[in-house]
């Protein structure tokens, strides 16, 4: 029997780490500043650092390429390392080892590389071009990786459990603007939420919004506003980007005939392009209007409030776009 409590998005992640480290001694945490009394730049690992100490929650020198590579070696030997990159932006420093070694090993010689990289992504908090990125598209394009991006505390917990238990390298994008601002019900216990299954965040009949991460909440907010127009919007929270629940997308679009894809990352050749291209091909006969996409502009993410606010997709942008779509 699982009890429902309300946790922040951050505490849900911290709880998943704790639960799984208790269950499985092969799970260790690696990263810069994750351990000791500090417990991480965002304090996500503070709970496990206190609970399990420096043997299992290990501070690394600021050498992402080496410690991500080391995580692959540990994983090959049967461990399940969970790596924190301090900001998702810094994943580019460890990129080579992820896309060339970890992603390809099972296909090439059959050895599993079960690690997770936790990547605190997304912006809106005036952190500028190097602490606000959403680089998931690079990894969705790379064969051999799995990529997840939970939007709720319950998914943050359940999908981190699934990611750690998965036998493959999984990049787990957590939306840092949600860390403390979002609270929600989180089941007790240790049940995983499977990778590859989308969630209907909101049911509706007129337009489908396909989204993930922080823009799930903007989409739900937009849906509430649009309900006032008499337009009901179905919001699909993908949760998992690779593999992607294409059935859920098609089913919804078959019903609504209109699809809008929304994400925080820049739009150009983003994950939304794959989703839109997929819908346009596979649901062509159902479409009453073109598939639209909303995402960041094709520019580095600016820092100053009026610029960052202009850069980011807002609920207002979504409302306006859906209105255009239904009027099409």
């Amino acid at each position: 029997m699982t009890e429902i409590r309300h946790l922040t998005y951050l505490d849900a992640i911290a709880e998943a780490l704790s639960v799984e480290m208790e269950r499985d001694p092969n799970v260790v945490v690696l990263g810069t500043d994750v351990g000791g009394s500090f417990g991480g730049a965002f304090k996500v690992t503070k709970r496990v650092a206190t609970q399990f100490g420096p043997r299992r929650v290990r501070n690394m020198p600021m050498t992402e390429l080496a410690f991500i590579g080391a995580a692959s070696g540990m994983a090959l030997m049967g461990m399940r390392p969970v790596v924190e990159v301090q900001f998702a932006d810094f994943i580019s420093t460890g990129f080579d080892s992820i896309v060339q070694f970890a992603a390809t090993t099972h296909y090439r010689w059959g050895a599993a590389v079960p690690w997770v990289i936790r990547a605190p992504s997304d912006g809106g908090i005036r952190s500028g071009p190097f602490h606000s990125q959403n680089p998931e598209a690079w990894f969705v394009h790379t064969p051999g990786l799995k990529v997840v991006a939970p939007a709720t505390p319950a998914d943050a917990k359940g999908m981190l459990l699934a990611s750690i238990r998965d036998d493959n390298p999984v990049i787990y994008f957590e939306a840092k603007p949600l860390y403390r601002s979002l609270k929600g019900p989180v089941p007790d216990g240790s049940e995983a939420i499977p990778i590859g299954v989308a969630r209907i965040a909101q049911e509706g009949d007129d337009v489908t919004i396909v989204t993930y991460g922080s823009t799930v909440h903007d989409s739900v907010q937009a849906a509430a506003e649009l309900a006032g127009d008499g337009v009901t919007v179905e919001v699909i929270d993908l949760r998992s980007l690779k593999p992607m629940d294409t059935d859920a997308i098609l089913e919804s679009v078959a019903k609504t005939g209109r699809a809008l894809v929304v994400h925080a990352a820049n739009r150009m050749a983003g994950v939304g392009a794959e989703i839109a291209a997929f819908i346009a091909e596979e649901a062509f006969g159902h479409l009453d209007a073109p598939v639209r996409r909303l995402g960041g502009m094709d520019i580095p993410i600016p820092f100053s409030p009026p610029l960052e606010d202009t850069y980011r997709v807002s609920a207002y942008d979504i409302v306006r776009t859906v209105r255009e779509m239904v009027a099409w």
Partner: protein, 323 residues
């Protein structure tokens, strides 16, 4: 370039260090008061390194300062107004509201290269500038800074190796401030002195007291002269202490109080002022006036920056590409 300074030079060092400290204090205060945007970094404790190294460069030399090097931006001619405006996200800031705090404070008219977060990406970039000077046979030098944490990165080593094999006019100042964010030296590396990394690449290395601005100045000036002569790159390890948290939000509770107390005794700004007073180069009254001038200069800059307009959102898409 001489390696000692006349008394005007010595007074200049005092001025730039005091100006740096005044601006640094103001930033910390403003951000604590909620008058900031995003985060900010303090370089408290690093003034002698940033100023001493920056002052050792000639006007045509290029520098790529980092996030503890406020003093270097100042001494190389970037005004407090532009720096403050940048940190407040204003149009008048160096990056026009695009990059945060000290990031991206580049201005080629001042021969300053701005940095990116990804440490230490400035190292090979500064080296590339040095290689350009060498290629064009210009008597110019490029200098950059890096931290103890960054000295563990591969790029630190790749850069030193490439600098050595190209015999480039390149100087690297390592600011060993005992910590990389929350991580003390002994959890980052198994060596006592970072300078032992220089011979791994055939680079000349030296340790200096990073809280003694004259020591920093002399060592860097010698390295710059060496580079300018065509004798290749140098590494200078300046030992110091990061006196505040990693960034404004960080209380640095993980740093033992005794360590800070010990280093507080050797505050680089007051140490140099006291030395000048002791040698008679500076009277208490002049010192008082100097402090007052710095205070007024920074106050004026704050007023300017706070009043300056935010960028027009319509400008957001311009300048992604050079045309």
């Amino acid at each position: 370039m001489t390696e000692s300074l006349d008394s005007a030079g010595k007074l200049n060092l005092a001025y730039w260090m005091r100006l740096t400290r005044t601006l640094d204090d103001a930033l910390v205060a403003m951000w604590k008061q909620g008058r900031g945007v995003g985060g900010t970094f303090s370089g408290r404790g690093h003034e002698a390194i940033a100023v001493g190294a920056g002052y050792a460069l000639g006007p045509d030399d290029v520098v790529a300062p980092m996030h503890r090097d406020l003093g270097c931006y100042l001494v190389r001619g970037m005004s407090p107004e532009r720096i403050l405006a940048n940190q407040l996200g204003k149009e008048a800031g160096v990056t026009k509201g695009r990059d945060a705090n000290l990031h991206g404070l580049g201005d080629l008219s001042l021969n300053i290269i701005g940095f990116v977060s990804h440490l230490p990406q400035s190292l090979p970039v500064a080296l590339g500038a040095a290689m350009a000077f060498q290629y064009r046979e210009e008597p110019r030098v490029a200098l950059t800074f890096t931290g103890d944490g960054s000295s563990n990165t591969g790029l630190f080593h790749e850069t030193l190796n490439l600098a050595a094999v190209q015999k480039a006019p390149f100087v690297l100042v390592v600011e060993n401030n005992q910590y990389a964010y929350s991580t003390p030296l002994h959890e980052q590396m198994a060596i006592d002195d970072i300078v032992v990394r220089a011979p791994a690449h055939g680079v000349v290395g030296e340790i200096v007291d990073g809280n003694d601005v004259m020591a920093v100045y002399s060592a860097v000036a010698a390295a710059v002269a060496r580079a300018r002569r065509g004798d290749g790159p140098s590494l200078i390890e300046a030992k110091t202490m990061r006196m505040l948290g990693h960034a404004i939000h960080d209380g640095a509770e993980y740093v033992p109080a005794e360590l800070l107390e010990k280093w507080q005794q050797r505050d680089p700004v007051t140490l140099w002022e006291a030395a000048l007073v002791a040698e008679g180069a500076l009277s208490e009254a002049t010192l008082e006036r100097l402090r007052g001038e710095c205070h007024d200069e920074i106050e004026a800059a704050i007023e300017y920056a706070e009043r300056a307009p935010l960028p027009d959102p319509a400008t957001i898409g311009t300048g992604v590409y050079a045309t």
